[in-house]
Symmetry: C2
Subunit: 142 residues, 2 copies
Amino acid sequence: MSNLNIYTKKLRESSLRPTRQRLKICEVLFSPDKTFHFTINDLTKILEEKLSEKISLATVYNTVHAFKKKGYLKEISINSDKSYFDTNVTDHHHFFDEDTNELIDCGDKEIDSINIKKNITGKKIKSVEVLIKVATDNQNQN
Amino acid sequence: MSNLNIYTKKLRESSLRPTRQRLKICEVLFSPDKTFHFTINDLTKILEEKLSEKISLATVYNTVHAFKKKGYLKEISINSDKSYFDTNVTDHHHFFDEDTNELIDCGDKEIDSINIKKNITGKKIKSVEVLIKVATDNQNQN
DNA sequence: ATTTACATTAAAATAATTCTAAACTGTTGA
DNA sequence: TCAACAGTTTAGAATTATTTTAATGTAAAT
Ligand SMILES: [Mn+2]
Ligand SMILES: [Mn+2]
Ligand SMILES: [Zn+2]
Ligand SMILES: [Zn+2]
């Protein structure tokens, strides 16, 4: 199946029509051979570079959220003013480099599986994420 | 030592003078026998209820951030528009109830200790946090 | 008591995100 | 084929959390 068909399928499955703008977003998100992390701002900058015509912020937000809802993108929990997204939607954890504000994958094999002994009555576990914050070892003396 | 002296000490150690407003914030944060989670908005509402005089939002933000920097408060990573803080500054993990937007502690004993087999060269681990998102088991059919 | 440094505050600024409403385009069925 | 409809794009406005500003007030040092 051609990339274009793959993108169209993903869009249709997300209840979105395959428009010019959305196909361009797909190309940026899903054609690289490596998965990656991005903010809406990152994605918009990449799109502006690759694209002759402008693409509106609202369209980027809408499309990313639709993909997230469908499970084609994942949002990462970080205390930050902006949201981070991940094209790697498999279960995995993250390092967050506080110096560079960069997310780094931590595969399932690099961390022992999390065993939770408590449960919340009436509630089901939707996700379990480990976030490991790292920084250069400056002994941060207040 | 009286509560008042404890608050004054915490403030001084955070390089803050013990003013009327800040002592009130301390009372709300540090007098309950149980630790709790809050947003700036929560805290402001509590203060408004307890207080005759108004306290400015800027003061709440400044004081909370100073306490966080000193380690008297902890910020919790959640994908949300607002920041969550915790008066429990010991190492522990969290459940986040997506229905109610409520944080629930998950003590160290309720989760096996996290063993990380990977490290980032030149970087030191600052924190390891597990966030378990839960929700009522509605089978969320897109 | 006077001086100084720090604090409080209302209001403005900033920044991420969402909403609005008008113009546009893909899709469908007559 | 093509009108009609439903969904889409967009610029800009609105919203919301947070930070900054700058004028005024207060704690602490002398
Ligand atoms: Mn923040
Ligand atoms: Mn968000
Ligand atoms: Zn990742
Ligand atoms: Zn907690």
